[in-house]
């Protein structure tokens, strides 16, 4: 791909200092999203996928903080009138920076996991929808209202004009998620961050929302970062996928490539662990051994090594694997694919005490 990337996350580190110790939620994530691309981010709990998404808008809940890394973003509207290379580092801003505020909702919009809680209960849907429009566009209240109703119609809410005056409790979960999408699209952002937008919904509603998102993506041409733990959803919506485990992207590539020809042991195991229609009925699944480690007890070396079926003792527990580019688009973070395999180290050094980034 010769396009210029829309978003480039480089070696991002995010931690949460807590009383009991520091949680390394994101430990060196690299991720590139091109304009108009749907990037799926998959992972189990604690893999840092949501925190990564929140970091794009700098809305990581306290006490989380970005320790290192860059989030390079190329806004499409912000520098229209001024010249310049047009790339901003989102990680470098203060969280209340004016430029950042103009990017939020305008250039990068977000939809959340719990549609039931993402609206203020005491303000009308229309109020919250118009708020987004008025913040970033020069419009009168009246125009904003008309635009709001139009957006509601666009996301498939009937009787949109009257619905503008409804309160969130009068909307069902599916409708709220539609309204949330309407808000997100109100300023035609170039990147939509969708943090598990269908997890809280029933399957039939999930299908509707996925269908809607797919349609709107084609219509508006925005890029989507779609976060989920459901591999099926990823298969259906994403072009590219990044698999995350314990704060790192362990494998990344086109969705077909990853699902059919996975390289990282974790991806392989994950795909085998999912029950598949018509294929696994009545059989034992190939389960991944052990549990997801506590975030206070990050394994040394490769974070997956304690559960990995292909672990090389003395290597995987000491050596942090490097990102290996298998071809133009497919990369993996596993020692098995490194050109120069490190020698087994019989006495594991404690990597935890060493700085995670050189």
């Amino acid at each position: 791909m010769t396009q210029t990337p829309l978003l480039e996350i480089k070696d991002l580190h995010i931690s949460f200092p807590l009383d009991e110790g520091t949680v390394q939620a994101v430990a060196g994530v690299n991720l590139t999203i091109y304009p108009g691309q749907v990037m799926g981010v998959v992972g189990e709990s604690g893999c840092g996928k949501s925190v990564t998404a929140q970091s794009l808008l700098r809305i990581i809940p306290p006490p989380g903080r970005i320790d290192a890394g860059q989030i390079l973003f190329r806004p499409s509207k912000l520098f229209k009138d001024t010249k310049g290379d047009g790339v901003v580092d989102l990680a470098a801003f203060k969280s209340n920076d004016e430029t950042l505020r103009r990017i939020r909702g305008n250039e990068i919009a977000m939809i959340f996991q719990e549609p039931m809680n993402s609206f203020s209960p005491v303000h009308t849907i229309g109020n919250q929808l118009m708020e987004a429009i008025l913040l970033h566009q020069k419009m009168t209240e009246k125009e904003a209202r008309a635009r709001g109703a139009e957006l509601l119609r666009l996301v498939g809410i009937s009787n949109a004009d009257a619905r503008m005056d409804n309160y969130p409790y009068q909307f069902s979960g599916g409708m709220r998620q539609r309204a949330m999408i309407a808000i997100a699209l109100s300023c035609t952002p170039s990147l939509l961050v969708a943090d598990e937008p269908t997890t809280a919904l029933d399957v039939t509603i999930q299908a509707q929302i996925l269908d809607l998102l797919r349609r709107l993506q084609q219509q508006f041409g925005m890029a989507i970062m779609f976060i989920t733990h459901n591999l099926g959803v990823i298969a259906q919506i994403a072009d590219h996928v990044a698999i995350m485990y314990l704060g790192q992207v362990v494998e990344q590539g086109p969705v077909r490539e990853i699902l059919r020809n996975p390289k990282h042991p974790y991806t392989m195991d994950l795909l085998r662990a999912v029950p598949r229609l018509g294929k696994t009925a009545g059989k034992r699944l190939v389960a991944i051994e052990g549990g997801i480690p506590s975030p206070f007890n990050r394994p040394t070396g490769c974070p997956f090594h304690p559960r990995c079926s292909k672990v090389i003792p003395g290597v995987c527990n000491t050596h942090i694997p490097q990102l290996v580019q298998l071809d133009e688009t497919h990369s993996v973070r596993c020692v098995l694919y490194e050109p120069k395999v490190p020698q087994p180290n019989p006495e594991p050094t404690d990597v935890r005490t060493a700085p995670a980034v050189a």
Binding site: G174, V203, L210, Q236, V255
Partner: protein, 341 residues
Amino acid sequence: MSEPRLPLLETKNLKKYYPLQRGMFGGGSGTVKAIDGISFYVEKGETLGLVGESGSGKTTTGRAILRAVEPTEGQVLFRLDDKGVIDFTALKKSDLRRFRQYVQMIFQDPYSSLNPRMTARDIIAEPLVASGLAKGSEVDDRVRQVAKRCQLNLEHLRRYPHAFSGGQRQRIGIARALVVQPKFVVCDEAVSALDVSIQAQILNLLMDAQEEYGLTYLFIAHDLSVVEHVSNRVAVMYLGRIVELAPTSKLFYQPLHPYTAALMSAIPDLDPDRVMKPVILEGEIPSPANPPSGCHFHPRCSFAQEICKTQTPEFKEYRPGQFAACHFAEQLELQGALKSN
């Protein structure tokens, strides 16, 4: 198919209505029909999957069978080899406790289902101790045995639930259900809250235990792939009623009810080239407090006719073992989640 087996459990017209409270003094006006006439049977040793979306009444069904909620009407018949047929719903409270050992439950939320103030050992021992099935060292022996079977670290039995991860907690919950060697276990969304890698471990554990102890499961879930994976037969619920019940493969290849078909079309396929073409259902699930007339599904059904608005379709057997409640079950050619290539 093997020779017909005797049903271990049978529900007949099971209902659970909740009074709807409105107004200051709780004057009842209307009822919520959480489940409205559920009839099915479960054969010994099989797994009956029970699927449906939120508000369909699947959880209430599971709990009503166990009398964790008192059913409003209907029977739950339970066939025990040595004791004959017992009507669970007719048992007096004191008798009910004696029969609890045959029917157990595994819960969805591994956090709220374990009393945080009891050690893992006490939680697992609860069914033995509470019903007086075992005493003294026998309790410990049996707890250790079942804990080992559920792959729990025996040294951790002294610990409280807050020390365990979600997957391990679920193992404790399973151990608690299995310690009395029940005949029938209701798995209420037992793997829904777990991560994929953990979910596979628990599913394997459940299936191994079934084989080893000859268990019969009622497997309640909303994830159709999981249900297809574990079930022999599947019942589909919508708004408090069963709309279709069939052997798993029949249901997934040739559903009879439009709702079943819609549900299946919404499963996101793991194969990116099999693009999901969901049957888009109009609107959302209506409230069980105010269900539509006739066939509950008619306002969202693309095949609905006049008759669907007025008459409740009969739940009957259209193909061997395949039951449905739809006026047009015989006419419609519906597509399942699986295609025979």
